[in-house]
Amino acid sequence: MPETSKMKKPDVKVVLLGDMNVGKTSLLHRYTERKFKDTISTVGGAFFLKQWGPYNISIWDTAGREQFHGLGSMYCRGAAAIILTYDVTNWQSLAELEERFLSLTDTANHDCIYAVVGNKADLTDPTAQQSQDTDGMSEDQTECEDRTEPEVLSTSLTSSASPKQVTHEDAMALYGRILRYKGLEEKSSLPAEKMCFETSAKTGYNVDTLFETLFDLVLPSILRKRNEYQESPTVDLEECRGGSSKRARSSCC
């Protein structure tokens, strides 16, 4: 069928992970819609397709709530890039990445790349308060009045005063530990300086840089995948017919 549906097939998968309320949906929303709005806690995962040049990049925005952990590995299966997001004003959100989210990445590709992203930088860093993109600015003023997402426990205690709790160095240290967890050589992997970001979905600070850096980095993975499955559409269908429908499905992501 349909050329259209083949066209839309995602070439590569990027997943946003992180504790609740760190701003995963807001980051993505800032990037795709160019604005910041009060979002509602994500349910399950949301799937987006992003055209990046000739490629289709699928982005999974996942729920940070523990409740949805069961699906975490499904969202991560075959991922080419994983964005581990924390909140710079909340130390616990960084700790959670290591405690809860790192294990979810086991199903990602072997050559998956990892980015550690500290969001809400505008709360602590004056430079991040300046908007980076010009077009979304006007809306910001009106829409971003409050960040009053439901706050719990530690967040409610800390984020009101919002001192910076996580430094860039902490994040880079975490990146090192992630590589070790994955059994990757630090030398042959992407350097921490390049893969640790501080962003603000509210002002747009560093958001485009984050996504675009990642997209550029996953390109090789797309090309390799294309080569592997040169006759890909037919392969998929044959596999499905063979009855192993589940496997076939997972291979298409």
Binding site: P2, M20, N21, S41, V43, A46, F48, R65, G242, S250
Partner: protein, 621 residues
């Protein structure tokens, strides 16, 4: 509700106030709804008082009905009904028979129900025991400053006036007067007394209040009893205990206890839909003082949305689905589109527009097994409505349909078909956690077929209807729930209702009309004295509610209508509905079979594709 009026009050209570749990053995709490009222006011004088209290809401002018209420079952209150009775034979078993018996039967029922509550205790004992405990509970409430009647009560003493309920109240000051004046509070706490949810204000700020609630519950429990409700002049406090969760509603809405309990049950089900019953029990077995907010954090808005819907949408009251009126040819073509876009393990395909059902297609084996309960559909609709995040991208999320199976998840694919307007929403439910890409492919087939048939613009034109189309003057509004839809075996309960138009265009007036309907509903479904027919002259309108074995009907007329007029109008209305049936209801819910048949799932969705195949068995759950 096709139920016999002569049923035991108990059974009726369960069915009506607790519609979703029909399939399950009734919960002890839900079983014995009206009992507390009787026991709280054991002596006739007091009881009369209480009745009077209840009958005096400012906005429910009860006229002659009140008088009957006060005579308390002594007289068959059927004078206004009689004429109608003769009009319709079905109607013959009207309230008079019931009410005559009620007094005696009430006592028997009470005993029955108590037996169920505290099986170990002998009837009389537990009967009086319960009374004492309730009184104690009351006293305790007062003592704790949550006073039931006391003027000093911070929680309960409040005006009845409702506040705008359509915004988030999480940051509200719980010590403020405005907080106390909310029309309906809902609290959820764990058995350990840990706050889980409060409709208004943060749960944390309310932890001591919730502690008192839990103290009440456990105090009554320690006497092998169950606390069900507390009545005061202004408020009704209803308790519902479900597994490790305790739900409490404090309402000044004048709704019946059964209705309030039904609403609490919806809240419980919504929680279950996110976590499953099994996992909640497991968590609390493991750790009694677990803070469930860890798992529910972020879901408050879904519960808020549910409670707002419950207040503003009669579907919950009627336990039926409201579907968007649609030419049957269009509905059929939509159904066919859904029927053709299938993949293994797909069990429900649901198309929604403007928060109303367009069509629903179910897996064959599933319908034979169990039907989709209206309450489950309500929860799904609320989930979609409450989450604006759904408006972008495609969602894949686990969701439990508590009445279908409270312990397992379905995987829901949710996507809007008309971004950025986001009015037409597709919901596909699969039992396969990994099926996202296959199901997303179904959506693409559906999208294509809908483009080919120009369905979206046709759907956009569809709208609810005006009561003027019925062509009956004096008729302002109605709600009609048929029981005799063709193919009613496993049919989804539905109802139809026109737009609320002037004089019910403002939010306040809408709510006032709904309150009147709720009142009529509570009278019709009263556990102690159910009615078949009620003609109620209110201050600004006249209402007539009528339940037969074939339908349940609530009508609202202009205040000056005569009974004869109203009856003619209803005859005309019923005729009109009959004529429009195909448009107003989903008459023949289509089915498909998603027998694993790979060629179908992977190959294109051209419209020439065959219909579903019949062989095989669906591996459900």
């Amino acid at each position: 509700m096709e139920r016999d009026n002569h049923q035991e009050g108990e059974a009726q209570g369960v069915k009506i106030c607790d519609p979703p749990s029909e399939r399950k053995p009734p919960d002890t709490l839900a079983t014995s709804l009206s009992l507390l009222g009787n026991h709280m006011f054991p002596d006739p004088v007091e009881r009369n008082n209480s009745t009077t209290d209840k009958e005096e809401p400012a906005d429910l002018h009860l006229s002659d009905v009140t008088a009957q209420e006060q005579s308390l079952d002594a007289e068959p209150p059927s004078n206004q009904v009689k004429k109608l009775e003769t009009e319709e034979a079905e109607n013959s078993e009207c309230q008079s028979n019931e009410s005559a018996e009620t007094t005696d039967r009430g006592a028997e029922d009470a005993a029955d129900r108590v037996t169920e509550d505290a099986a170990a205790v002998d009837n009389d004992q537990s009967d009086s025991g319960e009374f004492v405990v309730t009184m104690l509970a009351k006293a305790k409430l007062e003592e704790q400053g949550i006073g039931v009647k006391g003027r000093s009560s911070p929680l309960l003493e409040a005006g009845t006036q409702e506040s705008p309920a359509f915004m988030s109240h999480r940051d509200e000051d719980v010590t403020a007067d405005s907080w106390r004046q909310h029309r309906k509070h809902v609290f959820v706490l764990s058995e350990a007394g840990k706050p889980i949810y409060s409709r208004y204000g943060s749960e944390e700020a309310l932890s001591s209040t919730m502690g008192v609630m839990m103290a009440l519950v456990s105090f009554v429990q320690s006497g092998d009893n169950i606390i069900r409700s507390v009545y005061s002049e202004q408020h009704t406090v209803v308790f519902l205990q479900k597994g490790p969760l305790v739900l409490v509603c404090v309402s000044s809405s004048r709704q019946s206890e059964q209705q309030l309990r039904g609403e609490l049950l919806y809240v419980y089900y919504q929680i279950i839909s996110m976590l499953t019953q099994a996992s909640i029990s497991r968590i609390f077995e493991h750790k009694k003082n677990y803070d469930l907010r860890r798992l529910l954090a972020g879901s408050e808005k879904i519960l808020d949305g549910l409670l707002n819907l419950v207040d503003s949408d009669p579907s919950f009251l009627l336990a039926a689905i409201h579907c968007l009126p649609l030419a049957s040819s269009l509905r059929d073509s939509l159904s066919q589109i859904l029927q053709k876009a299938i993949t293994p393990n797909l069990v429900f395909s649901i198309l929604i527009a403007k928060n109303q059902l367009l069509t629903i297609v179910q897996e064959k084996t599933v319908i034979e097994d169990t039907r989709l309960e209206p309450a489950d559909v309500h929860l799904l609709l609320n989930l979609i409505g409450a989450s604006s995040a759904f408006q972008a991208g495609e969602i894949w999320t686990p969701i439990c349909l508590p009445l279908f199976n409270p312990d397992c998840y379905f995987y829901a694919y949710i996507s809007y078909l008309d971004p950025p307007e986001c009015t037409v929403c597709l919901l596909l439910l699969s039992t396969d956690k990994e099926a996202f890409y296959a199901v997303a492919e179904c959506k693409r087939k559906i999208e294509e077929a809908m483009v080919a048939q120009n369905s979206l613009s046709l759907i956009a034109k569809a709208q609810s209807y005006s009561v003027s189309q019925v062509g009956v003057s004096d008729l302002r509004h109605f709600m009609y729930k048929p029981f005799d839809v063709p193919d009613n075996y496993r049919q989804l309960s539905q109802f139809t209702s026109p737009e609320m138009e002037a004089p019910y265009s403002s939010e306040e007036e809408k709510m006032r009309l709904l309150d009147l309907y709720r009142y009529m509903h509570s009278r019709i479904h009263s556990t102690s004295r159910p009615l078949k027919l009620i003609y109620h002259v209110a201050e600004r309108e006249t209402l007539l509610a009528w339940v037969t074995s074939k339908f349940e009907l609530y009508t609202c007329f202009s205040p000056l209508v005569t009974k004869a007029c109203a009856i003619t109008a209803i005859t005309k209305l019923l005729r009109w509905i009959k004529k429009e049936e195909d448009r107003l209801f989903i008459r023949y819910p289509p089915k498909y079979s998603t027998t694993p048949n790979p060629s179908k799932s992977s190959r294109g969705g051209k419209s020439d594709q065959q219909d579903s195949t019949d062989n095989g068995f669906l591996s459900l759950l």
